[in-house]
Amino acid sequence: MTLRVRALAFLALIAVLATACAGSPTPGGGTGASAAPAAAKVAYGGTVTFAMNSDITDMDPMQSGLFVDRHLMYAMYDSLVRVTPKGDIIPWLAEKWTVSPDGKSYTFNLKTGVKYHDGSAFDAESVKWNLDRYRLTKDSRRTGELAPVDTVTVVDPATVKVDLKTPFAPFLSQLIDRSGMMVSRKAVEAGGADFTRKAFKAGTGPFILTEAVKDDHYTFEKNPDWWGKAANGDKLPYLDKVIIKPITDGSVRLTNVLTGQVQATNAITGKDVPSVKANPDFVYQEIAGLGYNSMYPNRSKGFLFEEGRYVKAVSIALDRDEILAKGPAQGVGTVGYGPIAPSHSAFDPNFKPFAKPDIAGAKKLVADVGKGPLKFEMLVSSGDAGTLQLAQLIQSQLAKADITMDIKTLLFNEIVKLQNDHKHTGLTLINWSGRTDPDGNVYDFVYTGRPNNNSAYSNKEVDKLLDDSRTATDNAKRKDLLLKAQQIFVVDDPALIWYSYQAAQLLTAKNVQGFAVFPDQLPRFETVSLKK
C-alpha cells in the first residue's frame, strides 16, 4: 500500500477508527460457504445502499493503490481464498490447496463451472493469466505482494501450481485480497486504459457492476449464477441490488444513514458513536482492526533521529491515551505500541512498553545523548485539519518533556518525496490500514532497504528474526519470532513510533441482516438481506 493510501486511509480513519471491544459479537457469520445468518428463513430481494468515506480511483486490482477501492472489489470479484472475521483463511475460488513439505510449492484445486460475468470461463489458464499479469506487468501495484512467486503452472483446467523462490509463510494471505482476485481477461483486454474505471462484467463475484458514476455511486446487480451458498443451504446472494456511494463528509454520511437514504456505512466519527449506539433503529458493530497509526523518524546517517535514544525519548514522552481520546480518533480504536494489531493471531496483549508517559525518562534520554535540548520538526500535510490537530496535540505533550517539536505544513506529495528519499529531518505521520497477516504490517516497514522502510531503519537482528519468521512453517514459532523482533524495533532500538490501533466499524439499519464486520473494515454483501 502506498503512502498515499496510508494517508487516505488515515483520512478515512479519522472517521473509521473504532474502539476494539474484545467481546464484540460478529453476527451473521460472514462469508459464502461458511455464512450462517441466524434466521431460519431469509427473504430474498431488495436493495442496500452502502456509504464509504471517499471515492475510489481504481477497479482493476492490478492498478489499485487505495484502501477504498477494495469496497467495490469484494462485491464484484472473487479471490482464490478468503478470510473469516477471525482471520482464518478459507477456500473460495480455490476449493482446496496443498503445500509441499519444503513450503515452496502450492497446488490449488479450483472450483469448476464458474463463469465471469461476461460469460468467459474461469479456469486454471485464467488463474495463471491473472497471477502473471499481477506480478509481471511493469507498473503493476501487486508485484511486491507476489515477489516470492517463481512460476505459475497450469496442471490441468482445474489445477494450478505456484512455485515460490523461497518458502514464504504469508503467501496464502496475499491471495485473499487484490493479488488473488480473478478478473476476466476478455474484459481487461476490451477495456484497455479505461478498464480500471469501467470494469463492468469483469469478475465472478456475487454482484455484477452495472453502473459507475464517479463521485456519486456504483450500482451492482445480483449475479444469479453465483456459486456461493449460505450455511443453511440458501443460494447467495440475497439482495437484488447493491449501491455503493462515496460520501466524504462524516456528518453528511451519518445524516444519510439516519434519514434512510443509506442503509449501511463503515465510517462513523468518534463523536457520533455514542449517539448511534443508543439509537434503537440502528445496529452498530465495532471490532479490532488490522491497521495502526504511527510516526516516522528518519534514522538515516547524519540525521537527528539517527540517534535511537531520541526516537525513544519521543516515544516514551507521548501520552497515548490522550492522543486516542482527544486526537482525531476521538476515542475510537485502542492505544497501541507496535505494528502487530489486536486482531492478528500474533498479537500479544501484554506488550505495553509505554503504558504511561515517562517524562523524566524522556528528559534523561535526551540528557544522556549530551547534545543539548531535543528540537525537530514534524511534517504535516497541509489542509488536513485532523492531522494538524493531532500534530499540535503531540507538540504540547512533547513540550512537557522539554522537547521542541515545530510543525511544518507541506503539500502531501512533498512529504512523500522527502520520506522516500530519506530526507525528512524530523517526524512524519503515517497510518497503515493493515494486512491480514502481520508480516504485511511489519516486514516492509522495518526490514533493511525495503521500499516502504521510510525511516531507513536497519537492524541486523531484526532482519534475521523477520527472515526466519517468513520461512517458519509453524505458527507458534512465527509468532514468537515476530514478537522478539517487535521488542527490538519498538523498545530497544525503535524504528517507528506507533501510538494506536485502528478498529473496524459497521453501522446498519435495523432491517438489514447478515451484515458482518471484518477486521479489514470491508463490507461483504453476499450474506446481507433485508428483513421483510
Partner: protein, 320 residues
C-alpha cells in the same frame, strides 16, 4: 466592429500563450514527485523510472511543454496520473454540477441585484439607498467560506426539519427535488460574494444612464416618461446585466474552488483542489487552463456586448 473583435482576438493569442506557459511552470514548480505517489507500494527505482518514462516526465521541461501544448491544441489534455481518466472527460463529468451551481448563483445574484440596485438608484440618498450601499460593502467583506459554514450550521441546528442538507450532490436526473434542495445553500453562498458588487454596479450605471444627454433629449422631445424608459432605459438596463454576468463568471470560477469544497459539491473546482496535494499535473493544468480561458473569453464577450449596448463606447479606443 468586426475589426474590433478581430483585434481583441489577436491580442488574446500572446496572452493565452503566456497563460499556458505560466500554468505549466507553476504546476511543476512545486517540490515533490507525482511519480512516487503514482508508483505507490512499488517504489523501487526501476519501476519508478519506467513509470516516469511512460508518462513522459523524464523529458526536459520545454519538450514536455511542447508535447502538452500540441495535444491541448487538439483538445486532448492528457490523462489524470491518479485515475488515468481523460482530463477532458473528468472535467466534462463535473462540469454539469459546476454549471448548475453557477447558473443558480447568477439567477439569485442578478435578480436581487437588479431589484435592489434599481430601487436604490431611483431613490438615491434615501434610507434604502444608504442601507443597501452599506450592506453591499458588508457583503463584499464577508468571507464566503464563513458564510457557507454559518448557513450549514443554521439549517442543521437552528432551523428545524433539515430543510436544506449540509452538503453533497444528487444529480438532477436522479432526483430533481433533492437536487434543488441541495443546491440552495451553496448557490446562496456563491451568489452573496458577487451580489454586493453587482448591486453597486446596477446602481451606479443606472444613475449614469438617468443623467445622460440622450435621455434628457428624449424627454425634451416630449416623449412620455414610460416611453423614455421603454425605448432607452430598457436597452441600457441590459448593460448592468451583461456586466453582472461578466463579473459573475470570474466569481463562479473562484467560488467553485471554495464553495464546492465547503459543500462537497462534485464540481470542477473541487476536482482541482483535490488534485493539488497529489500533484496530478494533467488535472491541475487542465482545470486552471480551462478556467483561465473561459475567464478571458467571458471578459471579451462582456466588452463586445458592452460596446454593442452602450452608445458611449466607440470600438476604436477599447484597448487600454
Amino acid at each position: 466592429m468586426t475589426q474590433y473583435i478581430l483585434r481583441r482576438l489577436l491580442l488574446m493569442i500572446p496572452v493565452a500563450f503566456l497563460v499556458t506557459v505560466g500554468i505549466f511552470v507553476l504546476v511543476r514548480l512545486a517540490p515533490g514527485d507525482p511519480v512516487l505517489t503514482y508508483a505507490g507500494e512499488n517504489n523501487d527505482p526501476v519501476t519508478i523510472a519506467y513509470i516516469r518514462a511512460q508518462l513522459g516526465l523524464d523529458q526536459p521541461l520545454p519538450i514536455q511543454y511542447a508535447a502538452w501544448l500540441s495535444k491541448a491544441l487538439q483538445g486532448d489534455l492528457g490523462r489524470s496520473l491518479q485515475t488515468k481518466q481523460r482530463v477532458v472527460e473528468a472535467i466534462g463529468e463535473r462540469l454539469p454540477a459546476t454549471l448548475e451551481l453557477g447558473a443558480a448563483a447568477i439567477l439569485i445574484s442578478v435578480v436581487v441585484a437588479l431589484v435592489v440596485g434599481t430601487l436604490s438608484a431611483l431613490k438615491r440618498n434615501s434610507v434604502l439607498d444608504l442601507v443597501t450601499t452599506s450592506v453591499t460593502l458588508a457583503g463584499v467583506s464577508f468571507p464566503n467560506f464563513f458564510l457557507g459554514l454559518i448557513l450549514i450550521l443554521v439549517f442543521a441546528f437552528v432551523v428545524p426539519g433539515h430543510l436544506f442538507p449540509p452538503g453533497g450532490y444528487v444529480a438532477f436526473v436522479a432526483d430533481p427535488g433533492d437536487n434543488l434542495r441541495r443546491l440552495v445553500l451553496p448557490a446562496i453562498t456563491l451568489a452573496t460574494a458577487s451580489l454586493a458588487v453587482n448591486m453597486r454596479q446596477v446602481r451606479s450605471s443606472l444613475i449614469d444612464v438617468f443623467g445622460l444627454d440622450y435621455m434628457r433629449t428624449a424627454r425634451a422631445k416630449g416623449l412620455h416618461e414610460g416611453a423614455v424608459i421603454a425605448r432607452h432605459a430598457l436597452k441600457n438596463a441590459l448593460i448592468p446585466v451583461v456586466t453582472i454576468i461578466g463579473i459573475q463568471i470570474g466569481a463562479i470560477i473562484e467560488g467553485a474552488f471554495i464553495t464546492e469544497t465547503i459543500f462537497f459539491w462534485p464540481g470542477v473546482g473541487r476536482l482541482a483542489v483535490q488534485a493539488i496535494p497529489s500533484q496530478d499535473y494533467p488535472i491541475v493544468q487542465g482545470v486552471v487552463l480551462i478556467s483561465a480561458l473561459s475567464f478571458m473569453f467571458s471578459t471579451l464577450l462582456v466588452d463586445v456586448l458592452y460596446a454593442v449596448l452602450d452608445p458611449r463606447i466607440s470600438f476604436g479606443a477599447a484597448e487600454a
